[in-house]
Assembly symmetry: D2
Homo-oligomer: 313 residues x 4
């Protein structure tokens, strides 16, 4: 299978639709991004990365960071994390507080905002916010094999200034006694984590361990156990796209995680990690062109976790 051709044909076929969807406007720094950006990167186990378009340009990964935060919080806390956050789809918008009230401050899953705030709190643990942020960055540099990965301080400031809903969620969690650290400490890490700037290439390389049972197939470095990697994939498939996850599983068929910056990170177990970027979003907050590109790649490769065809090796 010529993966390079598939990536570039997918890009070419969709290039005319650049600019469709609506970029997130609630953070000024995001509203400034050129809506015509469109990048694809597909990383495989033998170290190759097939790229198209703006695949090497860093963008704000936003909620995609929740996947890395989850992996790192699980590493620190182990299964005890699941006492503080659930593993079920929410059936509500990503920033809804309704369910949180009914379920007494236990967020439904680590990929809605309230759940990600709890995850970040546990990742901080007994460290200072700055120590936690440095640790997160160091890990990502190692996973992405790139020392230039960084936060966008402008976006982080913007996140904090416009972060009323997240502040409300965090105080709500605090009211139920669900946070170990002070609200503003947790948010200071959370806002910086959302403001990570990475390229499609960096994202795809960083996430190979998810597609290969916890071990980066290129460096041989184990990030987590096989069972944990599979479970993170399960959560991505069920909850990775807010109230749009069913649609994504249905159309694309592999685990993924969206961010309102227009990025989507997908893990294709046993095959590849793929990152796409296009700022225009659909109504549920997932990149419109990004989801289309992944559906195309799924169709062209025949990859799907639901495929009945055994792979040709």
């Amino acid at each position: 299978m010529d993966l390079g051709a598939i990536v570039s044909e997918t890009w070419t076929e969709l290039a005319d639709e650049r600019g469709s969807g609506n970029p997130a406007r609630y953070i000024p720094a995001l509203a400034l991004v050129d809506p015509n950006k469109f990048g694809i990167a597909l990383a495989t186990s033998d170290g190759e990365v097939f790229c198209a378009g703006n695949a090497d340009e860093a963008f704000s990964i936003q909620s995609i960071s929740k996947v890395f935060a989850l992996a790192l919080a699980l590493e620190r806390e182990g299964p005890a994390l699941w006492d503080a956050v659930g593993r079920e789809p929410s059936g509500n918008a990503f920033n809804s507080i309704v369910q949180l009230e009914r379920e007494k401050g236990i967020p439904r899953n680590p990929f809605i905002n309230s759940g990600a705030i709890v995850t970040t709190d546990r990742f901080i643990g007994d460290r200072s916010p700055d120590e936690a942020v440095e640790d997160l960055l160091a890990r990502l540099k190692r996973m992405g094999r790139d020392e230039t990965i960084r936060f966008d301080p402008e976006v982080a400031r913007s996140e904090s200034e416009t972060g009323s809903r997240n502040r409300s969620l965090a105080w709500f969690l605090a009211d139920f006694g669900r946070l170990l650290n002070p609200v503003e400490d947790v948010l200071s890490v959370y806002f910086r984590q959302c403001a990570l700037a990475m390229s499609c290439r960096q994202l795809a390389e960083s996430a190979l361990f998810l597609a290969f049972d916890g071990t980066d197939p290129v460096t041989g470095q184990q990030m987590c156990s096989a069972s944990r990697a599979r479970r993170i994939n399960a959560l991505m498939l069920l909850c990775g796209h807010y109230d749009n996850s069913g649609q994504f599983a249905f159309e694309v068929g592999f685990p993924g995680k969206s961010g309102v910056g227009g990025g989507i990170l997908a893990s294709v177990p046993g095959r590849a990690a793929i990152a796409v970027w296009s700022p225009g979003l659909n109504r549920a907050g997932t990149s419109l062109l990004g989801a289309k590109a992944l559906a195309q790649i799924a169709r062209r490769t025949g990859w799907s976790v639901f495929s009945g065809k055994l792979p040709e090796i």
Copy 2:
């Protein structure tokens, strides 16, 4: 891989836990079932079926029937079905009406009760209730390669007599103009469909087409397109176990559908179809021992749609 040994070892290891969980009591006919029943059947593409325990005893498949109803409704309606029912997890109990009010009578997915009622309505189409029921039964006999598959009239009567909540859901749908047929006609098919009696062996054989891209690998008969089979798997993974689907995906890792009769039907794409039965349920209405058995089989086989290991062929 010795699948026969895996099935029997799984059964033996869990046999002491027979009777755990709480059988459904809301239908008198279900409350009479011996809680110590425990059966497993695993069907593969070469026609073999590995069984253990009460694998050949028919039980009330209840909501597992929603998978077959969905496949048949899609065959009649095509993608237009998705105008009437969604594809997202509900984040609520299987019989909740709250979301249905908020979303104006469009059920979240075909596996919650309201969604299944809509699916049944579309499967009936312009036929009489009895014609639809006969067609459903004929299909299942063919899929299960067994002429003895039948409804349990006692359970169907019991369903109807205790079906107040389903009546309420159906009238609610009717109020929003979401049903094509009269409420009592739809319910008369729905209650009979839920009262189908099948054994683990019959279920596993009937569902092989889901695991093999729409075609029964034993008979070569195509039940639906590859893409449709994959999508049904996606829905089972995301919504197959009520408000317990995340937990199941997390622990087991393949598409499945529970019924309150204690059965679970699982599709392992490219590998097998598995049915388990044990009447005791967990709090969310999924068979307690059944879910454990599937988790064991997943662990012993290494099968998971999220596995990063390429299969050895």
Copy 3:
């Protein structure tokens, strides 16, 4: 105070606005009513009834009947009724099922549809539906001092044919075991009760007992205890206009009950009973012109249960 002049001036001042608002269309028989109808009747303790406009024309009283049903159910059941239905405002639409699910089938109050269905069920008690309906009609004829009060069979049939939402609510209540009688029996009384046809004059006369501590001041006949009459007034003030009750209490300032037929019945404790009728409704289902007329009468008379002025006697 010249109440006759106040009634006719109010009518004249608002007559130009006849036809404003939107008449209920969900029942065909209601949609046929001339939207320009506008009647006012004000009955006092000395037996006088001041009328204006279409005050002697019978219209479908719809939910206003819930006040009479409540009084009669309390007479049969006593305070035990309050185990089956609450006394709190709902904060939701009149036909919402959401709260009913959360509160396990105990309706918030007797004036939302689910609560009225329970009230009707208790009013029926161990009688047949037809006996209950005859009793209700006999009572109203006595209260309204008019043998011609009757049901509109066309509206009752229309109610039943379009009553999907009420059927859904009733089956929902039945599912929680909240009804003593079969669902269709309860609904058959409920639909006829909603289809009562009465004029403003008949309504005002029938409700004088509410304004005068339970005893009709004209006939001296006691309908209920003073304490019960006051409590029914309290419920009307808090819950009489669906999710619009606060607005009505704020603008008008006395207990009232709306019906989607465009009628409003108001009780002014110690002073009068007033009925108004104009088919056009506001967004919450209360007669637009009717509420304006009552606000005008409140302003002109200075009457308000919140008035700090002691009455001049």
Copy 4:
């Protein structure tokens, strides 16, 4: 009518029940109050104040302050206030955020916490928090004709330290752009306002204007228009006791406002203002003994806004 005897008999009859109910514990400073405190004060238009028990001891008025805040915010803003906060009962707990999400940040009424936060924000207007607080205090000293009325700084600090839920509500409002002032500024006034310490006597005297159409009948000073006073009474009747307002209207029958400090302030239009205090609360957060005392006074005086008896003058 011997009001002095009624007040003291009511106190005596209920004195044995002192200590019943559960004092609020969420604020440490409230948990320290002697649960056996029980005071009653009834102020009439001729300047008399009938007292019993601990009627001259200051306690934390908590949410009773919302009535004064509303009157003062209406004075500053006029009816424009109603664009920012509704006038309907909520059908939910006092601190619920669910409805606020559904209704996009417009609180249901000024007496639930979110609504009171908006009211406080508008009362602050373009002033500094400290200026607003000083103004509020000056007004209350004048209304209560007592220069010693003050804030309890210990309670205010306690409120702020335990105010996570209120912080969450305020940030939620801010997220919808519903606050004119910075969240912490609004909360700093809100927490001090809740920490006002007043006695039953001071409360009753301060609230006479509500019972007498906006003008203090003793000093002749006009606090607000008759229409505004009546409307505040309407809101107190409909929404004054959280999700317990229907019960209170039903049992007591006049407008009131509870605070979790165990106080209840009642306005009896045309008659009197009454304040009671007993720290033990019922499940909905209203003083258990306080509500009983008011029901007794209502019974003994025959006062009720729903009474059909014209007053003997």
